[in-house]
Each structure stands twice: as C-alpha cells, then as structure tokens.
Symmetry: C2
Subunit: 322 residues, 2 copies
C-alpha cells in the first residue's frame, strides 16, 4: 500500500517546527523544539529525532511515512546539506538530510531552502495548484524566492538558484544589504527593509506621523502596518514605495521566465491591498508589452502558521533516497 503520510520540518534560527501531513495538506500531528539550544548539531539531531518519533508514532509509526521534507536556510537540494547558514548555530556544511535519515531507520529525507519549500507547498496544496510556471516570493525578515518552471523547481547547476531577494534594484547608492552588497531588493522590501524605510522617512521628512511616537530604532513593519491602517500618510506612503519596488522587480522577473503567477508569501502579505495595489500598479506600468496582463499576482493560500511545515512536507512526496 502507498504510504499515506509525509513529514515536514521547518528549521528556523529559533525554532524547528515539524508535523505529519496527509495528501490533502492537513497537519495531523505536530510539535517543535528549540533550534538555538544546541551548539553541536549531533545533540540537535538527537533531540529532533526523538521528538519526530513521538509525532510519527501518533500517526501510526514510520511505516506510514513516505518521506520527510526539510526546509532550512541555505539548504541545498542536491547535497542534502545546510551550507554556511549565517543564522543557524552550526558552521560549515552540515549533511542534515543524511543525519536525520540515519536516526529514523533510513526514511528518505529531502532538504531545500525555506523559499523553495514554500514554492513546492503552494504547488502541492496552495495557490499554485495546477500551475507549471510560477514564482513564489517570500516577504519576511529577508526576501526569498522559489521558482517553478515547467512544473519543476529551479535549483540551478549548484542547487542555489532563486535568490531573487538579491537582484539589485538600486544600482547607485543602494542600501547596504545583509549579503554585503548594496541595493538588493531584500534591503528595501523585507519586513526589516520596511522598518528601515520608516526610519529613513521619519528622519528626512517633517510631516506628522503616529510613527513619531515610537522609538525609531524599535519600529517594526507591524508598526508601519498598524499606522497605515489608521490612515497615517507616511505609513501609507511606505507601503506604496515598497509595493512599487516589488512591482518593478516583478516586471523583470517576468521577462526571465514568463510565469503564470507570482505568489506572495510571508509576514508582509498581511498588509493585503496596502502592498498588493502598488505592486499591481507598478507591474502594469513596467511590464514589457508582450507580457501585458498575463501574469497574476496572488497571495499565498497556505495558512501562515502551517505554511512552512506544509511547504517542507510537500518535498516528502518526491521520492529521493539520500
């Protein structure tokens, strides 16, 4: 009999969340452990394997599990390794897929980065069901992307393709980005980028804003959203600027792979129309004629609390032995 479940593991800098998922995308059992607790990856794997066995046993045991998918920062699909992830406690190349598989009687484990996991999640359970060509853009602390072309995730020749948060959108005098370069999309349109824009606007402008009541260094994209919902003009303008930069960048992405849709995922999508309207407006204004009106911009259809685990779990359906 076909094994009925997969396991998805989302490894973040703070927490590792995981769950047993069925073919319809329902998380049946889930749990989490602290990622940051263990400086030694072997200790981490021991605790993770123990916790995984508990949720897997609830689902009927390892025999029911077709595969495990893992989404992790800098996760490489080809090697199964986390490679030099700046926000994880373990340095260098960690053969994570192999380590997990060994602890769980050799069940197949597939690894990719979090944005690619999100793209596979959308294709399997979400807004991209039935699509063969689409791009998922994750708008969180950073900006990531998962690109699907002809029904396949784009890994590139080295497994690291799809770094659309790091295309340069301001060539001269661009903002410093965490990657060490200047002017990356991520430096402007991530949640932290939005907060930076807020600090910049408050400093160089004089008009009123409820944001002025806050400690500038502590302003978050959530504060900007709350202010915009109250009609604060500076906050509204920040979303307009952010959305415009995204829409401009999307026009270039479409020139590359001509996707059916660009799907937005992550914290910043909570801004809804505040971010979507300027994106669409800028996209319409900047799109090459041959692509006019063709590519949709959509929000993710995965419930946010579940999305990362669901995305990772979708990889478990692909059979790839480690």
């Amino acid at each position: 009999m076909e094994k009925p479940y997969v396991v998805g593991i989302d490894i973040g800098g703070t927490n590792s969340v995981f769950g047993v998922v069925d073919a319809r995308g329902t998380i049946l059992y889930s749990s989490s452990i602290k990622t940051s607790k263990h400086a030694d990856v072997n200790d981490y794997i021991d605790e993770l394997a123990q916790a995984l066995r508990m949720v897997i046993d609830q689902a009927g045991g390892l025999d029911k599990i077709k595969g495990i998918g893992v989404g992790a920062p800098n996760g490489n699909y080809f090697s199964g390794c986390i490679e030099f992830a700046p926000n994880l406690p373990w340095k260098g190349k960690i053969p994570l897929a192999q380590l997990i598989s060994e602890k769980l009687d050799g069940v197949p484990v597939t690894l990719t980065n979090d944005a690619n996991a999100a793209a596979i999640g959308e294709m399997t359970y979400g807004a991209a069901r039935g699509m063969k060509d689409f791009i998922v853009i994750t708008l969180g602390t950073g900006v990531g992307s998962g690109i699907v072309i002809g029904g396949n995730l784009v890994y590139g020749h080295d497994g690291f393709a799809g770094e659309l948060g790091h295309v340069i959108v301001r060539r001269n005098n661009g903002r410093m980005c965490g990657c060490g370069r200047q002017g990356c999309l991520e430096a402007y349109t991530s949640a932290t980028g939005v907060a930076r824009t807020a600090r910049e606007y408050l400093e160089i402008r004089n008009d009123d804003s409820v944001l002025r009541d806050l400690d500038p260094d502590a302003i978050t994209s959530k504060d900007v959203f709350d202010a915009a919902m109250k009609g604060d003009p500076i906050a509204l303008e920040i979303f307009k600027t952010t959305g415009t930069m995204l829409g401009e960048a999307f026009a270039d992405f479409i020139a590359f792979s001509s996707p059916e849709a660009i799907i937005l995922f992550g914290g910043l999508t909570k801004a809804g129309d505040l971010i979507m309207n300027p994106i669409k407006e800028a996209l319409d204004k900047n799109i090459l004629k041959v692509f006019e009106g063709k590519a949709k911009v959509l929000f993710s259809q995965l419930k946010e609390s579940d999305a990362a685990v669901l995305g990772a779990s979708a990889l478990g359906w692909e059979v790839k032995e480690v």
Copy 2:
C-alpha cells in the same frame, strides 16, 4: 532507419537563410531568399517552399529530413506562430510552422525566436554541449536571450520567456528603448546601444578621439571597435562601460537560475577581450557570495555565418508535430 538530416531556417528582416544540416552540425547545402520582398506571407511561403525543396532534393529528398526548425523574431514555440513581429513585413499572428509544413508534405516544423534557436544551437553543436543550465545572450542589433534550465529551454507559460534584453538596468532617467520603455539592457549593450553610447560620449566630452572624424549619426559599433583596436581612449571606455553593464546584469541573471555558463553570441562578441574583460570584472564585483566564481562567461562556438541556421536546425531534432 533514423532520418539523417534536419533543416534550419533563420528568418531575418532582410534575408531568410536556410540549410540542410547533419547530426554533427555540418551545413551540407544552403541557400537564401529575400524576406522583405513579399508583403503577402503566402507569396513568401511559396517562394520559400520552392527554394527549400531545391536544397532538400540535393540532400536526397524529404525522406531524409527528420524535422525543420525555424528561428524568427517573435516566433512562439507553443503556437508555431510569428506574433506581431515589428521588423517583418507581415502583421498580426502568422501560423508559420503550419504554413511551411503544409507545403512540404507535412514534415514536422518547429518554430522559436532567434535567441532561443541560438541557445539550442549551442547546446546541440556549440559551447554548451553537455550543459544542462546555461543562458545564451545575443548581442546584435538588439539583445536577446535563450535560457536553458535542467536541459530544457525556458518558454514560460506563454512561450515568450527569456526577454533578458528588456530587464531594466537604469531605473531612473534610463535610455529610451525600442520596446517603448526606458533603461532596458538592450538600449545600452546592443550594437546600436554601443553606437548610441559613442554619440553620447562625443557630445558631452571634449577629449580627442578618432571617432570625431566620423559623421556622428552614422557611427556603428564596428567603428567603435576599430577605434578601440587603435587604442582610442573613448572607444576603449565605451567597451568598458558596455561590458560593465552586462556583467552587472549577469550577476542578477545568475541569482535567478544559477547557470553553469553565460554564453555570448552575435556581432558584438567580435570585440573579444575588449568586451569580455569588463564583463568578468563587473561580474566578480557584483556576484552574490554563494555564486562566486561558479558561472563561466564564454563566447559562442558556432561559426557566425552559420550560427543562426545551425541554431534553428537543432530544433528539427526535437520531434514535435504541428
């Protein structure tokens, strides 16, 4: 027995060149007709079919032909149509693949645009043999691209993917591009872009240049190349600027699909190191850390006079009935 030959047809605004090609990429018989002579596409097809039959008969007849590949501006792989090509005499959608096939006893005809044909040509006979992930950039009158991911040409959901000449490289005050927008890569790094840069430099600067002996409006990229070979400082700087813009753009393209190589094709590649050195320098300077030193930049290995026909012919090996 497997049919031993394919036919490649390269349709340009002025001439249509075609030839019978064997599996090793040798053009056995070739000929051409004037594209621009016929305002009615049916007259054009009549003359083309007659001329095609002559070269095909030299090769032993239609029974020897596995398929015909056509490279044409705005050629759509999915529909087999030329769609709204500004530089061809026929307006609207022309079902070119079907029209040719009907005149030649139903032999399979596959159509794509010229840059995609170049990419398939490099993969089949040229610098990309054995590669699964690469991008061909054509530097001619315009700038085109053919993108291969996982061994497949990227067509996108509508058949028009790969318009990398029209990513925006200068967001503010960019040069007008033939596409109606501003700041496209093509407006700077095509042969006509190089000539525009020359006119701009001559106007805004005062230093000596052999280019000042020419009628500014008649300057071509060939003139700039000749001047650079004589050590003319303005001409050298024009190539440096052009190469730098290409290298900067390539860093973004690599962030998208992480190709093994970017292959340069077309007239401007005759500039050799004059264009290659600044490209590599700018690429090294702008590349995201994870991709450092990974992607090669190469010149096409197809002989220029044959390249377009060879590229188109490579499509003929793919069996796709119309």
